[in-house]
C-alpha cells in the first residue's frame, strides 16, 4: 500500500472520498462533473424531442405531447392514485426483505445447524423465478396489497441474504482473532466486528435487492390488478393510449433514479469509513 500524503488526508478529514486529494471539490467542479455525466443524456433527449416533433405515428408520439400529458396525468392526480400505493408496496416489501435477509444471514452465521439444514430450502426457493410464483401468491394472498408486498419481499430477499452470508463469512480472520483476544463475546463480536465488516457487501446486496423490488413492484401490478403504475402502463398500451404509456415509463424511470440516488447518498454516509479507506489505498 502506498503511503498517503498525511497532510492532504487530514485536510480532507473523514469525509475524504475523492481519489485525488489535491483537486478542489467546489460547487463549480461538481457542476462540471454533472455536466460531463449528463451531456449525452441531454443530447439524446433533445434528439428525441426534435425527431418526434412532427410525428404522426401512434407509437411514437411527439415528446412535447408526452411531457404536457405527463404533467396533466401525473401531477398530482396520478401520483396520488397510481404511484403512491405502488411505492408503499415497494417500501414495505423491500424493508421486509432487507430485515429478513440480514436476520437470516445472522442466524446462519451464529447457528451452524441452521445453515446446514436450511441451505437446501433456501437455494430451492432462490432458483424459482419470482414472476412465475405470482399465480401461487395470488392463490395464497389474494390480489390485494398483501400479495404485492409478499412477492416484492420474496423476490428481493435473495441478493441481500446471499451478500450478507458471504460478507460475514469473508470477515478477516485477524479481526476475529483480535475480537477474541480483546475478550468480546460472540454477540459482541457479531455487533462490533462481523456486521460492520460485512456492511459494504450487505450494502451491495441491498442495492441489488432494490432493483429487484422495483421490478417486482411493476410486474405484480401487471397481473390481476386495477391500480398502480404497472397497471397504468399496461392498461394504456392495451387501450392504444401510447402517450399515456410513455408518460408511465418516464415516471417509472424518474422514480427508479430517485430511489437509487437516495440509496447511494445514504450508503456513502453510512459507509464513510469504507470509501475513505478505499480511496487512500488507491492513491
Amino acid at each position: 500500500m502506498a503511503q498517503p500524503d498525511l497532510d492532504a488526508v487530514y485536510a480532507g478529514g473523514a469525509s475524504q472520498t475523492s481519489r485525488a486529494p489535491r483537486r478542489t471539490r467546489g460547487p463549480l467542479r461538481m457542476a462540471g462533473q454533472a455536466l460531463v455525466g449528463l451531456w449525452l443524456f441531454a443530447v439524446l433527449v433533445g434528439l428525441w424531442w426534435l425527431l418526434t416533433e412532427h410525428s404522426t405515428s401512434p407509437y411514437f408520439p411527439p415528446l412535447s405531447q408526452i411531457v404536457s400529458e405527463l404533467w396533466k396525468v401525473w401531477v398530482f392526480h396520478g401520483i396520488r392514485v397510481d404511484l403512491v400505493p405502488s411505492l408503499v408496496h415497494l417500501v414495505v416489501g423491500y424493508a421486509l426483505a432487507g430485515i429478513l435477509g440480514i436476520a437470516v444471514g445472522v442466524l446462519f452465521w451464529r447457528v451452524r445447524v441452521a445453515k446446514q439444514s436450511l441451505s437446501p430450502i433456501v437455494y430451492f426457493l432462490y432458483v424459482l423465478p419470482a414472476p412465475v410464483l405470482l399465480p401461487a401468491f395470488i392463490v395464497l394472498f389474494g390480489i390485494g396489497s398483501t400479495m404485492k408486498i409478499a412477492i416484492i419481499a420474496f423476490a428481493s430477499i435473495w441478493p441481500v441474504l446471499f451478500n450478507t452470508i458471504d460478507g460475514m463469512e469473508g470477515v478477516d480472520s485477524v479481526k476475529l482473532d483480535t475480537a477474541r483476544s480483546l475478550g468480546l463475546s460472540r454477540g459482541e463480536t457479531l455487533r462490533s466486528v462481523v456486521l460492520p465488516g460485512a456492511s459494504p457487501q450487505i450494502a451491495a446486496g441491498l442495492r441489488n435487492s432494490l432493483q429487484v423490488a422495483i421490478l417486482l413492484m411493476v410486474v405484480s401490478e401487471m397481473v390481476a390488478s386495477t391500480s398502480g403504475i404497472g397497471y397504468f402502463i399496461l392498461n394504456a398500451q392495451q387501450s392504444f393510449e401510447s402517450v399515456d404509456m410513455w408518460t408511465g415509463i418516464i415516471v417509472l424511470g424518474v422514480v427508479g433514479s430517485a430511489l437509487n440516488l437516495i440509496f447511494v447518498t445514504v450508503e456513502r454516509g453510512v459507509l464513510r469509513w469504507y470509501y475513505g479507506e478505499r480511496a487512500l489505498q488507491t492513491v
Partner: protein, 282 residues
Amino acid sequence: MVLRRASAPDGLVATEPAESVRGDRPTGPVLSVRHLGKDYGIGRAEPKVAVQDVTLDVSRGEFVCVVGPSGAGKTTLLRCLAGLTQPSRGEVLLDGQPIRGASEQVGVVFQDYSRSLFPWMSVARNIALPLKVRGVAKAAQRQVVEEVLSLVGLPGVEERYPWQLSGGMQQRVAIARSLAYKPELLFMDEPYASVDAQARAELEDVIQDIHQRLGVTVFFVTHDIDEAVYLADRVTVLSGSPAVVRETVEVGLERPRNQIATKGSPNFIELRKHVFELVAGG
C-alpha cells in the same frame, strides 16, 4: 561476556526465579509451557508438525523475545500460548492455571495492524472497545483512552480513523488498545515487521518504555535478531520447523537501552553474533 546458558539444547529450560515480583501477585512464573506441540492436518496421511516440543517459563515482568528462522512455527507457538489455537500436545499454564481460550489477563498485538484495527471505528472507539465489553463507564473509558494513547506517544488522535494514520502510528494504536484493559501478559507477533526502519526503532523504544513503566510481561516474537537482543531480558531461539527450543540466551544489557549506545556496545554485538549463529545453525 554476559552470556549465560540457561538451557540445555534439548529444549528444557531451567526455571529462573522471578526477579521483580510486583505487589500482591502470586510468585512463580506467569506463564509455564510444558512439552507443547501443535500439528496441522490431523487425520491426513502426513500431518504437518508446526511445533514439536516446546518447554519454557516466563517470569513476571520479564521481556522474552522468541526468534527463529521463518517457518519455524513462532506464530503458531504464540497463538497456542495466547489461547487463539488449541495445542495438540502439552500444557500451557497462566498463573498456574491451564488456559482455556483467550484470557482476560492477556493482550495480543498482531503483525498486520491494518487487519487488526477496526476501520469502521475511530481510534478512541477501537481502544475503548475492550473496556466497553467489560462494562467500564463512558467517562472512565475516555480517561483510559487518553492515558494509553499518551503512553504510546500518540496523544490527540482520538477522533481520527486508523486508516488516516501512518503504519507506525496504527501499530501504536493497536498496542494502546491491547494495554487498555491492563493485561498482565502481552503477546506480540512480529509487531514491527510491517513498518519502515525509522518507525521500527521508535516503536522498539515505545514498547521498552511501556515494559519499564507498567512492569507488564512481554512475549515478543520476531525474526529480527537485533530487535530481539535489543529488547529482551531473555532470547529464546527456536530451531527450524518443527519448532523446539534450541537455546535460551540471557541478555544482561542494562536498561534503559539506547538505539545507538546499546546497539554499538561490545556486549550487544557479541550477543547478536551468538544468537545469529544459533538461528543460522537451525
